[in-house]
Structures are given as structure tokens and as C-alpha cells.
């Protein structure tokens, strides 16, 4: 269980309160949370829950399997290259077919390795995003906004999963200016301050998730790096019966 999984379990109540508050009271019209909601297509609590459930481990395991297969393919390609025929025209045809097979197997091994590297990149990106989101979650769980949301109506239900926190009176999340801009006070309980608090908490979380999703999107669009090995790139693996190319000319 990594930091995000652990923190998610301990902040489920806060996240539910953030989602409920945004759904019930909305957010100031110009708040950045709107753009982030549009970009991610999910409420902060749902998005954190989704990211918490999205493990990079399957990608790592797939990459390990592909590397094992690449190693086996490289060894097989080497043995194909060691095959030597006999003297005569039929032997020459055999050698030509064997050489082509060796090139194709080696090229395939390179593709396996390239995909393994790509899966490693995806796993690293997702793991880094989970770490960043965990840090953001830890920050918001200890923020004045979290305290304010705890005190909002129906707090009894939602507070069950909250972290126990202590913050200075009037403290705000770093970088959050909207509460001050609108004249709302975090220590003044009411729909406006609840909405602002939920929007600030939501924006802090969705920002990290949006960055992660954008990086993953870029990696997926990019795909595995093309391989330089000749063979599969130029001649896709197609099964040509060797009997048509290996003429037995006696």
C-alpha cells in the first residue's frame, strides 16, 4: 500500500464532503476548479478514488515479461544465425531463408524491448502522479479548508473518515487567493466559504491529477520508440511457407 492508498483511506470522508459541497453549492464562476473539472471529467473525490485504484504494478509486470521474452527471442535469433546448410543451390536458398528469419526474430526482440521500456515509462509516470497526488492530499487534509468543511452541515457523516488535524486560525492553503478576493473568510461558516473551501481543495487535487493524466496521455500517444533493427519494420512477420522459396534443385 503506497502513500496515496493509505491517505485515501484516511481522507475518504473529507473527499466525499468536497464532492458533495461542490455538487450542492458549486464554486465561484472564475475559480480554476471549473476548468479542472472539465478537463478531468470527474469530481475531486471520484478522481482521487480512481487514481488510488489505478496501480502501476501491472505495467511493471508486463514489462518484465516482455524483457524475458525479448531475451529468449535474442537467444533464438542467435541460434537461427548459427544454422548452416550444405553445399549447393538448395543450401543457398536455405541460408537465405534462415538469414531472413534471424533478422526478423532479432527485430521482434527489439520491439519487445521497446514496448517494455514504454510500459516502464507509463508505470513511472503513474507512480509519480500518485506520489504527487498523495502529497497534495496530505496538504489539503491538514488545511484550514478541511477544517471548515468538517464543520459544514452533515459534517457528522463525512467527518468519520477525516484525519485528525490542527491548523492555525484563519490559515489558508498556499497559493489560494480566491477566498480573500471575494472577501470570504475561512473562519466564517456558510455556503460561500464552504464552496470556496471545497473548490480550493478540489483544485489542489485535480491539478495534480490533471498533470498526471496529461503526461500519461502524451506517453500513450507517443507509443513505444521505433526500433532501428531491420526486418520487422520493413517486412512484417507474415508466414510465408518456406517450401515455396526453398527450391530443391538437384
Amino acid at each position: 500500500m503506497d502513500a496515496l492508498s493509505h491517505l485515501y483511506l484516511n481522507t475518504a470522508g473529507l473527499l466525499a464532503r468536497v464532492d458533495d459541497t461542490l455538487a450542492r453549492w458549486g464554486a465561484p464562476e472564475t475559480h480554476q476548479v471549473w476548468q479542472l473539472l472539465r478537463r478531468t471529467g470527474a469530481l475531486p473525490g471520484d478522481a482521487v478514488a480512481g487514481l488510488s485504484a489505478w496501480s502501476p504494478q501491472p505495467w511493471r509486470e508486463q514489462a518484465d515479461e516482455l524483457r524475458r521474452q525479448a531475451e529468449a527471442a535474442e537467444a533464438a535469433g542467435g541460434r537461427v544465425g548459427d544454422l548452416r546448410g550444405w553445399e549447393g543451390p538448395a543450401a543457398s536458398a536455405f541460408q537465405h531463408t534462415a538469414d531472413r528469419l534471424r533478422r526478423d526474430v532479432v527485430a521482434w526482440a527489439a520491439e519487445l524491448r521497446a514496448q517494455a521500456v514504454h510500459l516502464d515509462s507509463l508505470a513511472r509516470c503513474l507512480a509519480a502522479g500518485r506520489s504527487r497526488t498523495a502529497r497534495a492530499l496530505a496538504r489539503v487534509a491538514g488545511s484550514a479548508e478541511a477544517v471548515l468543511l468538517t464543520g459544514a452541515p452533515d459534517a457528522g457523516e463525512a467527518a468519520a473518515g477525516m484525519l485528525s488535524i490542527a491548523v492555525a486560525p484563519g490559515a489558508r492553503l498556499p497559493g489560494v487567493a480566491l477566498a480573500a478576493a471575494t472577501g470570504a473568510r475561512l473562519d466564517g461558516a456558510g455556503p460561500v466559504s464552504w464552496a470556496l473551501a471545497a473548490a480550493d481543495v478540489g483544485a489542489a487535487l485535480l491539478h495534480e491529477i490533471d498533470v498526471t493524466l496529461t503526461e500519461l496521455d502524451d506517453l500513450l500517444t507517443e507509443g513505444p520508440a521505433p526500433t532501428d533493427e531491420p526486418g520487422l519494420q520493413q517486412s512484417p512477420v507474415v508466414h510465408h511457407p518456406a517450401s515455396t522459396t526453398l527450391r530443391v534443385d538437384l
Partner: protein
């Protein structure tokens, strides 16, 4: 000579068949994310891309297996023809 060569090619085909089986057994499953929006869409995209590439690798291993089997069969045919030619003292 040709019999031994055909046996070596068959052994390589067996290795490719084993790779095909191993890859097929390790085919990636679907990511299950109970979340709306872009994250679920990305997970689906990743699953689709990985699944397609994985299927390609399974097919590639199967293709190499088949090509090696054909090569082994051709080598055996060549050996048989050489022997027949030797037995009959000339081109059949």
C-alpha cells in the same frame, strides 16, 4: 546432415511455440476503474493499445514457429531428394 539440421530448426520452432504460449498466458487484463471521465478513458486507451501490441507479439511468435516448421520440412524434403537421387544415380 540435413536430418540433424532439420532437428535443430524444429527445436527452435519449439522454443518459439513456448514463447507464444508464455506470451498468450501473460496477456494483460483489463484495468477496472470505477471513475468517470478522462481517467477511465485513458485506462481504456492504455488497455486497448497494450492488448493490440500483445496480440501482435503472440502472432509474431506463432508466425516464427510456423516459418521454422516449414523450413525444417523443406530441409527434410531436400535431404530425401538428395538420398533418392543418390539411390537412383541421377536426377529423378
Amino acid at each position: 546432415m540435413t536430418d540433424e539440421l532439420a532437428a535443430r530448426v524444429d527445436a527452435l520452432a519449439d522454443e518459439m511455440a513456448e514463447q507464444r504460449t508464455a506470451l498468450s498466458r501473460a496477456t494483460p487484463g483489463q484495468t477496472r476503474l470505477d471513475v468517470p471521465g478522462r481517467m477511465a478513458a485513458l485506462a481504456r486507451t492504455a488497455d486497448t493499445a497494450a492488448g493490440a501490441r500483445w496480440s501482435g507479439h503472440v502472432a509474431a511468435a506463432g508466425g516464427f514457429d510456423a516459418r521454422l516448421r516449414d523450413l525444417a520440412a523443406s530441409v527434410r524434403t531436400a535431404g530425401r531428394n538428395y538420398r533418392e537421387a543418390d539411390e537412383h544415380g541421377g536426377v529423378a
